[in-house]
Amino acid sequence: MIWFMAGIWPDMEENKRMELQIDHISKSFKDKRAVDDVSMTLTPGVWGLLGANGAGKTTLMRMIAGIMEPDDGQIRYDGLPIGTLKGRYREIFGYLPQEFGFYPEFTVKDYLEYAAALKGLPVRDTKRRIMELLEMLSLSDVYRKKIIKLSGGMKRRVGIAQALLNEPELLIMDEPTSGLDPGERVRFRNLLSEFARDRIVLISTHIVSDVEYIATRNAVMKDGRLIAEGTTEELVRLVDGKVWQCVIPAERLPEYERRLRIVNMRNESDGRISIRYLAESADAEPVAPRLEDLYLWLFPQDTAQDAAGELRNMRTNKQSAVGIVGARGQTASDLSNDSAPGPKKGGRNA
C-alpha cells in the first residue's frame, strides 16, 4: 500500500505475469452468503466455472469485474488490488454478463462504436476491429440492424463482440453460450480457444460440454464455496469407475429411474433402452467419464447429497492431484472422511 499512499503507481507492465488472484473473498446479501471465502489464482487459458443455479458464480464474476465489492478478501491482478488499478484494470478487461443489456435504439454498428469509445479504442482502430469481430461472429449482415430486432443468438454474439473489442487480457463471460444454437456454440468455442492464448478467460456455463472441450482448468462452486479446481482430466478422474452403461427393456425404465442416477438414455432399434448412469459400483459396462458426469455427480437434482461430502469421499478413495477445496480454504486432506451416500449399485443387462 506504500506505493498508493505515496502516490507512486507501480507499472503493470513491469510486473506483468498475467495472474488474477482471488484471495479469500466473500459476499453476502442479507442472510444469504453468496460467495463464501473463495480463493483461486487464474492464469492464462480458458477457465470453466461450473456450478448449479445460485452457486455464486455470477456474484464471483461481478466481483472480478469490479462492479460489486467483496465484503471480505481482495482480488489482485498481477499483484495489485483491482480497486486501486481502476481504469488500467478496465482497460485490459472484457466482460459479458448473463443479461446483455443494450439500448433499444442502437444498431449493431452504433452499439459497437459506443462500446469501442468507452473502451478507449482509438478511432482509427475502431472500424477495423469492429469489422474483424463482425466477420468472426457472422454478424456482418446485421451490422446496420437494430439489436432489439435480432434473434437471441445474434444478440448474444453482439454481446460477445463488445467483450472482445479491446482484445482483453482478462475476459469474463457469464453464460456466453446461452441462446446460441449448436453450430454457433462450436464456432464460439473455437473462437475462444484461439483467443485465449496468452490471456485469461473465465466462462461460467450450465452447458458443461462448452467448457469440456476448451477449458484448460475448471473451478466448481456450490453454495458459494469453491469445492474443486483442476483440469478437465483431473476433475473427470474423480468419477472414474462411477459411470456405467447398460441396455434395459423399455418397460423396466421407471424402476431404473427410481434406483439409479441416470444421466443419459437412448432408444435402441430393438425397442430396448440404453442408459448411462452414475453409481459407486455396478454390474454393468464401465464407460469413460466426462465432465458432465462429474457435474451431475456433484449437483444431483433429486437428492440432497452434499457435493462437498461427495468430494471428501472421492478424495479419500482416489488421492488424486485435483485440488479439492473446503469452505475455509482447507484442502481435501483436511476434510473428514465421512462417506456420503452415493448412488446405489446398478444392474447389468437385464
Binding site: R90, G94, F106, Y114, A117, K119, N166
Partner: protein, 406 residues
C-alpha cells in the same frame, strides 16, 4: 469528448427524446400564437384587435409623465361626467371604446398607487384628484413603503431592501400599447411544460442502464465510470438546455413579432404592479424569465440525473423527477409561509414550475428570505440557488453513478 459526442447522439436518437423535442416545438408555436387570440377590442378578435388597440391608445404611447397621467385622468373623469356615469362600465360600448379604452393603458396602476395605506383598497379612478398626480413617482415610492409595512411588518431589512431595489427602477415608466400579459403567462406555462419534458428525457439517463443491465457492461469499460457519468449528465443537460433555449427564443421572437416589437419597450410596472421591484421592460423580463427558467430547468435536469443515478428503475426515477417538478406548487399552497419561501428558493424547479410559483410571479410579489438583519428578494435567491445547485447535483449524480453497486 468522443464519449460525450456518442452519448449525445444516443440520447438524441432515442424515440422518446425525438417525440418530446418535436412536441416542444409544436407547443412553442401553439403557445406563442394563442395569447393573440384572447384580445378582443371593438368587436374585433385576435391580431386585428391588437392593431385596433394600438390605434386607440397610440396617443398615450411613450414616457408616462405625471402631466400625461393628469391629462388622461382628467379626460377619463370628464367622459364619465359628460355621460353622467359613475364608472366606465356604465358607459355605452361605443363611448367606452372611443373615449375610455385609449386611456386605460396609461392609467394602469394609478388606482393602485393611491390605494388606502391601511386597507390597500384602491379609490377608483373617478375619485382620484388629477391635481394630486404631480409627484406620481414619489407617490409610487410612498405606496411601496406602505405596502412593505403591511407585507414585511417584522422585517425592516426586507423593507429597506425593497426600497433599495425600487430606487433602481427607471422612471418615468414607458408605455407602448398592444402587449398582453397573457403572452407572459403562456411563456411561463411553456417553460413548465418544457421542464416536464426535460425531466422525462433525463429520468432514464442512468436508471435505464441499471434496469436493462447495460450498466454492468459499461462500468467494466475503461471510460465507463467517471467519463461516462460526466458524459451522460453533460449530454442530457445540453439536450434539455438546447431544447429550452431554442423554444424560448422562438417563443419570444414569435410573440414579439405578433404583438409588435415596439410594445415590448413597455415598463413592466405598466403591465403589473406600479410598484414592482424589477427594473425591466417587457422584453427584458421576457429574457430574464427565459434565462432564469433555463437555469431552473438545468438545475432540475441535474437533480433528475442525480435521482436517476440513485434509483434502479426508470419508472421510479421518472416518478421522482416529475414529483420534484411539481413540488413547488405543493409547497406554495401547503407549506407555512417562511418555510415555504425557503423551500421555494431551494427546490430547483421553482423557477420554472407552475404559474404562481414561477420566477415571473415571484417577481410580482414582495417576498423576502429573512435571516436576522439580512434580507434577500425571493427571485434573486431562487436564481442564486439554481446556479449553485446545477453543478452540485450534477457532481452528486456522477458520484452516485460511479459508486453505484447492486
Amino acid at each position: 469528448m468522443r464519449v460525450f459526442y456518442l452519448e449525445l447522439k444516443r440520447i438524441v436518437k432515442t424515440r422518446l427524446t425525438w417525440i418530446l423535442l418535436l412536441a416542444s416545438l409544436a407547443m412553442t408555436l401553439l403557445m406563442a400564437w394563442l395569447p393573440t387570440t384572447f384580445v378582443e377590442v371593438d368587436g374585433l378578435k385576435g391580431l386585428p384587435a391588437v392593431r385596433r388597440l394600438k390605434e386607440l391608445q397610440e396617443d398615450t404611447a411613450g414616457e408616462v409623465t405625471p402631466e400625461k397621467l393628469k391629462a388622461a385622468l382628467s379626460a377619463y373623469q370628464q367622459c364619465l361626467k359628460e355621460y353622467s356615469a359613475e364608472t366606465a362600465n356604465d358607459l355605452p360600448d361605443g363611448v367606452r371604446t372611443r373615449h375610455i379604452l385609449p386611456l386605460t393603458g396609461v392609467l394602469h396602476g394609478v388606482n393602485e398607487v393611491y390605494a388606502d395605506p391601511d386597507t390597500g383598497i384602491g379609490p377608483g379612478l373617478p375619485n382620484i384628484d388629477p391635481a394630486g398626480l404631480d409627484d406620481y413617482y414619489g407617490d409610487c415610492r410612498a405606496r411601496l413603503m406602505s405596502l412593505m409595512r403591511m407585507e414585511q411588518k417584522d422585517h425592516p431589512a426586507a423593507r429597506a431592501e425593497a426600497m433599495r431595489l425600487y430606487e433602481k427602477v427607471e422612471t418615468p415608466y414607458h408605455f407602448y400599447p398592444g402587449f398582453n400579459t397573457d403572452a407572459l403567462d403562456y411563456q411561463i406555462l411553456l417553460g413548465f411544460v418544457l421542464t416536464l419534458f426535460a425531466a422525462v428525457i433525463a429520468a432514464p439517463v442512468f436508471s435505464s442502464d441499471y434496469q436493462t443491465g447495460a450498466d454492468d457492461i459499461q462500468r467494466c469499460m475503461r471510460h465507463g465510470r467517471m467519463a461516462l457519468g460526466a458524459a451522460k449528465t453533460g449530454a442530457v443537460l445540453l439536450i434539455c438546455g438546447a431544447q429550452f433555449s431554442v423554444c424560448m427564443v422562438l417563443f419570444i421572437l414569435i410573440t414579439d413579432s405578433l404583438f409588435g416589437w415596439e410594445t415590448v419597450a413597455t415598463s413592466v410596472q405598466m403591465l403589473y404592479s406600479a410598484t414592482m421591484l424589477a427594473d425591466m421592460t417587457v422584453l427584458e423580463i421576457q429574457w430574464f424569465t427565459a434565462g432564469a427558467g433555463l437555469l431552473s430547468l438545468l438545475a432540475t435536469v441535474s437533480l433528475t440525473a442525480f435521482l436517476s443515478a440513485r434509483i434502479r428503475t426508470t419508472v421510479a426515477a421518472l416518478a421522482a423527477a416529475l414529483f420534484s417538478c411539481v413540488l413547488p406548487v405543493f409547497v406554495y399552497f401547503a407549506a407555512p409561509a417562511s418555510v415555504g419561501l425557503w423551500l421555494r428558493a431551494l427546490i430547483p424547479s421553482s423557477g420554472a414550475a407552475g404559474v404562481q410559483t414561477s420566477i415571473l410571479y415571484t417577481m410580482l410579489d414582495y417576498d423576502f428570505l429573512n435571516a436576522g438583519s439580512l434580507a434577500i428578494w425571493l427571485p434573486e435567491a431562487m436564481v442564486i440557488a439554481t446556479v449553485l445547485e446545477l453543478p452540485a447535483f450534477a457532481a452528486a449524480g456522477v458520484r452516485s453513478y460511479i459508486r453505484h453497486t447492486l
